[in-house]
């Protein structure tokens, strides 16, 4: 196969497929065992300085914010993050200096809410490096290659663009069609965190709504922390096994955190807390503001429940439930901030 082009992006999280199999053999137990623990313990055990981390969900939807805040609390440094439409999670981790390398599909923006002042400042002052570019399809096929135990997946996206030139892909002549094809390399995050609707104590998890990239991400991550709205009985999982999105043997920790995606959405449960997001977008315009946010919402609280109380408690949570079910009108408090 002739090599036609080589992207100059840094190759993050790639392993030889045999090395990857060996790691699974030695580290991923097939024993049904209780993996429940606190978020403090999960982060302390499975997130290390310098790790390549990836967060589940999409944008502000179904994000394991409890883990994100705990990473800041435990002061993990020099993290590399997958910018796979990573929004609030990536923004707070980059702005606070815990993530200093990103491979970008979509980062530094809050979709319709505008760009992220905090993380953009870090990139534009050289404190956070974009080590590779890719596309959303490109990133999720990196996970797919890894979960399949393959070195790469061929695709026809990104060809001819600077996105490919700054990626870690290679372009070769396809031996079947004779046409150029891009090879996206497998990516195995050191640790991923995925927030789900229901999970048993072993890690068998159900997700309602779109899976986004979490089918693939859960299976390729070397370590996987599941945070769940509710821990359910194993019998509940076995009654409808076709609803299991993530099987227990890929899971390393199970943490029950109600409203654990806040201020992000949990489909079918609660909507975005736009007031909180607007407060972050406003505060993160300065590095002092970022410190103020962290002091207020991360360091001064003892638990996620305390954090929720600070964000408006039961009254706010009931409102977010009504918003999810279209019983309250849309608001856009960040509009005056942009």
């Amino acid at each position: 196969m002739e090599l036609l082009q080589q992207g100059k992006g840094e190759l993050i999280g790639w392993y030889d497929p045999d090395e990857a199999r060996d790691w699974v053999l030695k580290n991923k137990s097939r024993e049904l065992k209780d993996k429940t623990m606190s978020v403090t313990e999960a982060v302390s055990k499975f997130v290390h300085d310098g790790d390549f981390i990836a967060s589940g969900g999409f944008g502000h939807t179904r994000v394991s914010m409890a883990v994100i805040y705990e990473i800041i609390r435990q002061n993990r440094r020099n993290l590399i993050m997958a910018g796979k439409t990573a929004v609030h999670d990536l923004d707070v981790l980059v702005a606070s200096g815990h993530v200093n390398k990103v491979e970008v599909a979509y980062s530094f923006g809050h979709e319709l809410r505008g760009l992220s002042p905090g993380s953009r400042r870090m990139v534009q002052t050289g404190q956070c490096k974009v080590v590779a570019e890719t596309s959303n399809a490109g990133y999720q096929w990196r996970w797919l290659a890894a979960m399949m135990g393959l070195p790469f997946i061929p695709t026809r996206t990104m060809l001819g663009t600077d996105t490919l030139a700054y990626s870690s892909c290679k372009v070769v002549e396809d031996p079947f069609s004779g046409k150029p094809v891009a090879l996206v390399p497998a990516a195995y995050p050191d640790v991923a965190f995925i927030h789900v609707h229901r999970c048993d104590i072993y890690g068998n998890a159900q997700i309602d709504g779109i899976l986004v990239e979490d089918f693939e991400l859960s299976r390729c991550a070397r370590r996987l922390i599941i945070t769940t709205e509710k821990i359910v009985d194993n019998e509940f999982i076995r009654r409808e096994p076709w609803r299991t999105s993530i099987p227990f043997m890929v899971v390393d920790a199970v943490v029950e955190v109600r409203y654990g995606s806040h201020p992000c959405e949990m489909p079918g449960m609660y909507y975005y807390d736009e007031d909180h997001i607007a407060e972050w977008l406003s505060l993160s315009k300065t590095s002092e503001g970022v410190k103020e946010y962290m002091q207020k919402y991360v360091f001064s609280v003892d638990s996620f429940d305390d954090y929720l109380e600070l964000c408006g408690g039961v009254k706010k949570l009931n409102y977010l439930k009504r918003r999810e079910f279209l019983e309250e009108p849309m608001t856009a408090p960040w509009r005056k901030e942009s």
Partner: protein, 260 residues
């Protein structure tokens, strides 16, 4: 220009113009903002069976209100499926997407788009979000529609700072040479001044219609590159009162995308 004084604003006109391009019984892969609004308007008017597709897994929703994110629960409200990015991107690569629909910050005469950086890549003046799903949408869709709300010399540029998303790359045949699916590429560009297509021979941007009250001079002045001008230039159609009512009351009642 006249749009400012008329019964609709520029963003409403852009949404309406985008909706008109879309056809019933076809599929459209939409990006954030105006493309969502335009697809929703098409679905509520002439294209009730328009299959709207979102990158995170929403297939065929009927949007109950404006989606803030292309991955939130509204994107699979009353949908035919809530699947995954792998599913949506695979269907797209396999040829199931008729129209891709994107917004853009900077474009060149071949319809290539930049949403990555202004300035140097490694230490940029302005860091933008990157491709997201845009490169995939532009690579895979049979026809790509691009909305740029603020056509000017700064947004219609000779050379992009970064070619994030493929148009016709550097001209005829370039997409196929690079390995992109054949017979794909930009189809329409809609700005606050007019509606454009691409010349078949040169793959360069070519004017189709001017919005009411806009002059040819304005179109030329607000571009760094030469826009091909055909002998006959039409006037873009205007939205009806009913189109405007749907946009304002049913699709974006808070005025988040369309403004108040």
């Amino acid at each position: 220009m006249s749009i400012k004084q008329s019964k609709y604003n520029i963003r409403e006109f852009l949404a309406f113009s985008g909706a008109r391009v879309l056809e019933d019984k076809k599929s459209v892969f939409v990006g954030t903002g105006l493309p969502i609004v335009a697809a929703a308007l098409a679905q509520k008017t002439h294209a009730p069976n328009l299959l709207i597709v979102f990158e995170a897994g929403g297939l065929g929703p009927q949007l109950p209100e404006l989606a803030i994110s292309v991955g939130e629960s509204r994107t699979f409200h009353r949908a035919i499926a809530a699947s995954s990015m792998h599913d949506v991107m695979s269907l797209s690569q396999a040829g199931y997407i008729d129209y891709g629909f994107l917004g853009a910050a900077q474009m060149d005469m071949y319809g290539n788009i930049n949403t990555t950086v202004i300035g140097d890549h490694d230490l940029p003046q302005a860091r933008l979000p990157g491709s997201g799903g845009a490169n995939d949408v532009a690579s895979f869709s049979h026809k790509l529609i691009i909305i740029i709300a603020n056509q000017s010399k700064r947004t219609f540029v000779n050379k992009l700072d970064f070619l994030t998303t493929p148009g016709y790359l550097d001209g005829p045949g370039a997409r196929e040479r690079a390995g992109l699916p054949k017979d794909t590429g930009p189809y329409r560009v809609i700005t606050q001044l007019g509606i454009y297509g691409f010349d078949e021979g040169t793959k360069r941007l070519k004017l189709i219609s001017l919005h009411p009250g806009v002059s040819l001079g304005e179109v030329k002045e607000n571009s760094s590159f030469g826009i091909l001008i055909p002998d006959e230039v039409e006037t873009s159609p205007e939205p009806t009162d009913e189109d405007l009512r749907i946009l304002r009351q049913e699709i974006d009642s808070a005025g988040i995308v369309l403004g108040k």
